[in-house]
Amino acid sequence: MLICSVDSSAAPASVCLLEDDKLVAEYYLNTGFTHSQTLMAMLESVLKISGKSAEDIDLYAVNSGPGSFTGVRIGVSAVKGMAYAQDKPCVEVSTLESMAYNFLGSHAVICACMDARRRQVYHGLFRVDGNTVERLCDDKAIAVDELLSSLPKNEEIILVGDGAELVYQNTEIPTVKLAPPNLRYQRASSVALAAVGSYNKGEVTSPAALMPRYLRLSQAERERNAKIKQEQDGAL
């Protein structure tokens, strides 16, 4: 089975072809260029250079959120279009969960954090145990301080994602570590590996039903916003 996976949920973008257990091709860019200009070019390139065509793809996988509004939309739309044309199934992968798959083969608790501005992160917690990834909480938007106080204290925790550094700078908990740069960010090969598990559980979706999955700002944040607005009304 040939899986084509895509990530464009934040600043980097990547695409990958995974054939059964074999990682055939992966293309990763973190240039700051617009995904709408790079993503299809990368897809075309990996297909061509690995001697495959769109018809060969059996399953599509995409990081469907959380992430930047535009980035997630570009990835989901690209996959939706390609899968729809070939009538192939898709797997929606949580961006946060996909990053836990960077650590497949190790034994660690992975704390995925994406910067959601204003000292908030999109967050998910996962336990990687060899070849399995167990989700320990639902994806959510959470204040950095609240996240830090909720982390388990008695085991090593590895921070990943573009919010990892922000969280790391705000804690002195010695068991909290920053992932090395090569494992810190979302990438398409991990999206494909996450999709294998979902596919085996039958968690596939049609191209038409494929949707961005944004996380909304927490209620606490909204209340805070309302309060700020009230304070600033009339002040300028």
């Binding site: 930047s68 509004f69 535009t70 980035g71 501005r117 944004y214 909304r216 700002l217 909204r222 916003n225 309302a226 700020i228 607005k229 600033q232 009304d233 300028l236």
Partner: protein
């Protein structure tokens, strides 16, 4: 800081002056009623960055993107009434990627960056005169003196 302009052309010139000190990632929030001169000011600011064509209020498009000395993202928040609407414009993705200038900032005040430049435009009894109250640019006060 307070600056008075006596006509639309002077309002544009004020925008040009402000453009000269921008570094490329600022957020500029405009406040003021219909006809206050938000678009005239924006036109001047864009002109100061080398953008001379097509600057108009994106009332229906919500955001216009221009490319000059820096990318400029020109928002009109008149029709944006809650945070879900704002999120769906992609507003947050633009922050830090260019100069952001916002008309009708009243509608998204809680979402303005803490260091944003705030400009309130007020009409006076003289038909074409406008008073600009500018916050967040005090280090450049002599420029507008």
């Amino acid at each position: 800081m307070r600056v008075t302009t006596s006509c639309a052309r002077e309002t544009e010139r004020l925008g040009e002056k402000l453009a000269a000190v921008l570094r490329g990632k600022e957020m500029i929030a405009l406040f003021g009623d219909l006809g206050a001169g938000k678009t005239a000011f924006t036109r001047g600011l864009c002109s100061g960055l080398g953008i001379t064509d097509g600057v108009c209020s994106p009332t229906f498009a919500i955001v216009n993107a221009y490319q000059g000395k820096f990318p400029v993202y020109h928002f009109d928040m008149y029709r944006i009434t809650d945070l879900d609407d704002l999120f769906a414009t992609g507003f947050y993705d633009y922050i830090g990627n260019g100069v952001i200038i916002i008309e009708w900032s009243e509608n998204i005040e809680s979402e303005l960056e803490p260091d944003c430049i705030r400009i309130r435009i007020k009409k006076t009894n003289n038909e074409n005169e406008r008073i600009f109250e500018i916050r967040g640019m005090d280090e450049y006060a002599d420029l507008f003196g």
